[in-house]
């Protein structure tokens, strides 16, 4: 390399936005060991980048065995919920600069679901709870030829809970769910809420009965972990409270 090129490289690195960040990642691979362990990785990264970018940098440049799910990389697909510095977040919606990169950033799988490898968990119990609340529009009588009418106010009534991307950040942040996987969990209740409060739907009573179960809404201790965890800003605890209230008043 000529001196001129070296100078240029140095000049660029002087102005570089990059900093050194330590990622402390919970590793688990039963093909290798039955024990999970922490592993540190140091990467040079622009703090304006996402935690997901950091994980990619590790996987692509340092250790190809690091395993995690991801797809859209901008908070829409719900693949990459993980526990980052002790809080459930989407890795693609969390900027490194926002979580104090001066200290090691811890990354673990979400809790309450069986870890299969590194940051990958078994999502099946989560989706089973979702399917159990009948998450689809149920109507009676003949279908209209055109669309069903719905006022803007009626549409607004359940807007918040339509935003759910099924990432499991809420359910896996819930202490009740950690202790008892039979609990439906916040995400399933959110998706029941989305239909119970949809003026077009006619199966609200059935869904309420499902959630009246011993593993249903009454298990919620109102800790607000789910609301804090939701990357879509859904007021999850409020939705659960509304379902509880509907069970008492039978009005929705």
């Amino acid at each position: 390399m000529s001196t001129a090129t070296l100078d240029k490289v140095e000049a660029e690195s002087a102005a570089s936005p990059y900093i050194t960040v330590t990622f402390r990642i919970r590793r688990f691979n039963p093909e290798v060991s039955d024990e999970a362990m922490w592993q540190d990785f140091e990467v040079e990264i622009d703090p304006k980048e996402r935690v997901l970018d950091g994980l990619h940098k590790i996987k692509w440049e340092l250790d190809g065995t690091l395993t995690f799910r991801r797809s859209c990389a901008h908070g829409i697909c719900g693949s990459d919920a993980m526990r980052i510095n002790g809080k459930n977040r989407l890795a693609c919606k969390t900027l490194i600069k926002d979580i104090n990169p001066a200290k090691p950033i811890t990354v673990e799988p979400i809790k309450g679901l069986t870890v299969l490898k590194d940051l990958v968990v078994d999502m099946e119990p989560f989706f089973q709870a979702y399917r159990d609340v009948m998450p689809f529009l149920i109507t009676k009588g003949n279908e209209p030829t055109r669309e069903r009418l719905q006022s803007a106010e009626d549409r607004e009534r359940f807007d918040d809970t339509t935003k759910c991307i099924l990432c499991a950040a809420c359910t896996s942040s819930c202490p009740v769910f950690w202790n008892d996987g039979q609990y439906f969990g916040p995400a399933a209740i959110v998706n029941a809420h989305r239909f119970i409060f949809d003026s077009r739907d006619e199966a609200g009573e059935q869904r309420l009965e499902i959630l009246n179960d011993k593993d249903g809404v009454w298990r919620c201790r109102t800790t607000f972990n789910c609301t804090d965890a939701c990357p879509r800003g859904i007021e999850v605890t409020k939705a659960i409270q509304e379902v509880k209230r509907a069970l008492i008043t039978r009005r929705f």
Partner: protein
């Protein structure tokens, strides 16, 4: 190796795959194989809306929509298919509403509609409100609604199954689909799915570009599986660059932002689209707007210290309107750029967005083996396919429409076919190709790294076959891709395990991207004209005499096993509209 038998197998669980699955499951024993969980698909990232001439808010009809689609596609659209798209759009939207989709509503309680690029009243007179929408999350709502209805219908999913090979058996001289081969991510096991009918709905190929709105997982797996088995790919040179991606990141900011009144501005604050499209202005078709942005940048009117972007200005719109109609994209600006869209313009640049080309099909979704012959039992719908309703440039809101109209059609056609067809015998050692591919990669000791090759591919694609192309730039890309394909033979992975080996899968995906990038570049080199998303600076005009035809690219393998691309052409179906000069 496990062998499964189903009447109908669907590859992919995005909008097209799930719309097909709802129909196919009612009529036949159906399995959906998907490399992601169903609601993870990139359909969910679509924002602005789904076009249909419902005429809920102003006069409109499907014929105007057909015309706009044909004109938007720079007359490379097959007009019979565009007519079906526009006609069936109305029922497609109403069907979704009946399935529960929470559309925004008018004061009368009907589905609300808004303006979108290239959609006009009466053949280009003025913008028309045709896009049916749910805030700026229409794709999310479609994906959720379709998944909800898959749950209702009891659709059987195989999640995190990667389809890596298409099985074709020749019966009495006719190539027929026999099934697919899939790799199970959780276990590393290989599965053969014998099926009477197979539907590809596996999405696009955008990850061969660097700045793209596409998900990491959009690696053209379906196109590559069919192409490697000798089936053609149509119009691969036509790729859409969406005008408004977040600067450097490529994250999509919906055209609905301009539909709501957003304005593009250069560094002087000038509304530059008035110069390029006096009638439709910021709502001209996407190819036109993307070229205009780059023209501004090239002529020194770009923003920022490097002058490499322009602004999407929403600051004149009331905050309530942004909150109600564009909540997600305004949040993207806050999260990823630290910008408040109420008060500051958003830096944007064109982003690689959508493959107009793909696996050629007819209007029933049947895959074509050449210009005329269908492959019995093989279907495709959505971005993986080329019907062609998008021609040289897709209109915004026509892709959410495409997946619903042609997903449904393919689902019905495939299930009806499998109801009367017999299983086609599997080829000998059906899993051989996939098993060899997986073993070779797992055991390779080569020195090349997947991430490095992919980065070089993305950089050459961005530099050479993006919005502006010339013979020289495309040749540079072709040579670079050839070099990368050679180096790919020495690629190795670090993860040698069977369990959730995403390292291995990324290597396979890169192989798909390299094959498809080559098809794209070679097809682009041969098209010596400019049309829609394909703009050649050395041939800046459309040439209807020589190029009013679809490209059909075939993989050929010579006696030594060396492969090459053979290009052929297919006529465009023209019905009512004669090509005219395209102005907005």
């Amino acid at each position: 190796m496990k062998i499964h038998k189903y009447d109908t197998v669907i590859v992919g669980a995005g909008g097209a795959g799930m719309r097909a699955a709802i129909e196919a499951t009612k009529r036949s024993r159906t399995a959906v194989l998907t490399k992601l969980y169903p609601t993870r698909s990139h359909t969910g990232a679509a924002q602005g809306g789904m076009a249909a001439a419902l005429a809920n808010v102003e006069e409109d009809n499907w014929e105007w929509h057909t015309f706009d689609t044909v004109k938007g596609g720079d007359y490379l659209v097959d007009q019979d298919a565009a007519e079906i798209l526009a006609k069936e759009a109305i029922d497609a939207v109403l069907d979704l509403e009946k399935m529960g989709l929470p559309f925004n509503r008018t004061p009368d309680g009907t589905i609300d509609q808004r303006r979108f690029g290239g959609h006009s009243r009466n053949h280009g007179e003025a913008p028309v409100r045709r896009s049916c929408y749910a805030a700026d999350r229409t794709g999310h709502m479609i994906l959720q609604t379709l998944y909800q209805n898959c749950v209702k219908e009891g659709v059987e999913f195989f999640n995190e199954f990667y389809v890596l090979d298409q099985l074709i058996t020749e019966v009495d001289g006719v190539k027929k689909s026999a099934g697919v081969v899939a790799y199970e991510l959780a276990t590393g096991e290989i599965h053969v799915f014998q099926a009477k009918a197979v539907i590809y709905a596996s999405g696009g190929t955008g990850k061969f570009f660097k700045v793209t709105s596409n998900a990491h997982t959009l690696t053209g797996d379906g196109q590559a599986a069919c192409y490697r088995r000798g089936l053609p790919l149509e119009d691969m040179e036509f790729f859409q660059f969406h005008p408004t991606g977040i600067w450097r990141m490529g994250i999509l900011l919906t055209e609905g932002a301009r539909g709501e009144g957003g304005i593009l501005r250069n560094k002087d604050g000038e509304r530059f689209m008035e110069k390029y499209a006096p009638v439709m202005k910021d709502l001209a078709s996407r190819d036109v707007v993307s070229r205009s942005i780059y023209t501004e940048i090239r002529e020194g009117r770009g923003c920022g210290p490097e002058g490499d972007h322009v602004y999407l200005d929403l600051t004149h719109l009331p905050p309530e309107q942004l909150d109600a109609k564009l909540p997600d994209i305004t949040e993207f600006a806050r999260t990823y750029l630290g910008i408040e869209p109420y008060t500051d313009p958003i830096p944007i640049q064109p982003t690689a967005h959508y493959a107009m080309g793909g696996i050629p099909t007819n209007v029933e979704g049947e895959v074509l083996a050449d210009n005329d012959t269908v492959v019995p039992g093989l279907y495709a719908a959505g971005e993986v396919a080329c019907v062609s309703v998008h021609g040289a440039n897709r209109l915004g809101t026509n892709s959410l429409l495409d997946i619903n109209v042609f997903g449904r059609r393919a689902g019905i056609a495939a299930a009806e076919y499998s109801a009367k067809a017999d299983y086609v015998e599997l080829p000998e050692n059906p899993a051989q190709l996939v098993a060899d591919q997986v073993e070779r990669l797992r055991n390779s000791t080569g020195k090349e790294r997947v991430a490095e090759l992919r980065k070089e591919l993305q950089e050459t694609m961005d530099a050479n076959v993006m919005v502006f192309r010339t013979e020289q730039t495309i040749k540079t890309a072709v040579e670079k891709i050839a070099e990368l394909r050679e180096r790919y033979k020495n690629v190795s992975v670090q993860d040698k395990g069977k369990r959730f080996n995403t390292d291995l899968l990324e290597a396979i995906e890169l192989g798909n991207l390299l094959d498809l990038a080559e098809v794209m570049a070679v097809s682009a080199l041969a098209r010596k004209e400019s049309r829609g998303g394909h703009y050649r600076e050395d041939f800046p005009n459309r040439d209807d005499v020589n190029f009013m035809r679809h490209t059909m690219a075939y993989r050929e393998v010579d006696a030594d096993g060396k492969d090459s691309i053979r290009l052929d052409y297919k006529p465009v179906v023209q019905t009512r509209y004669q090509p005219m000069e395209r102005k907005y």
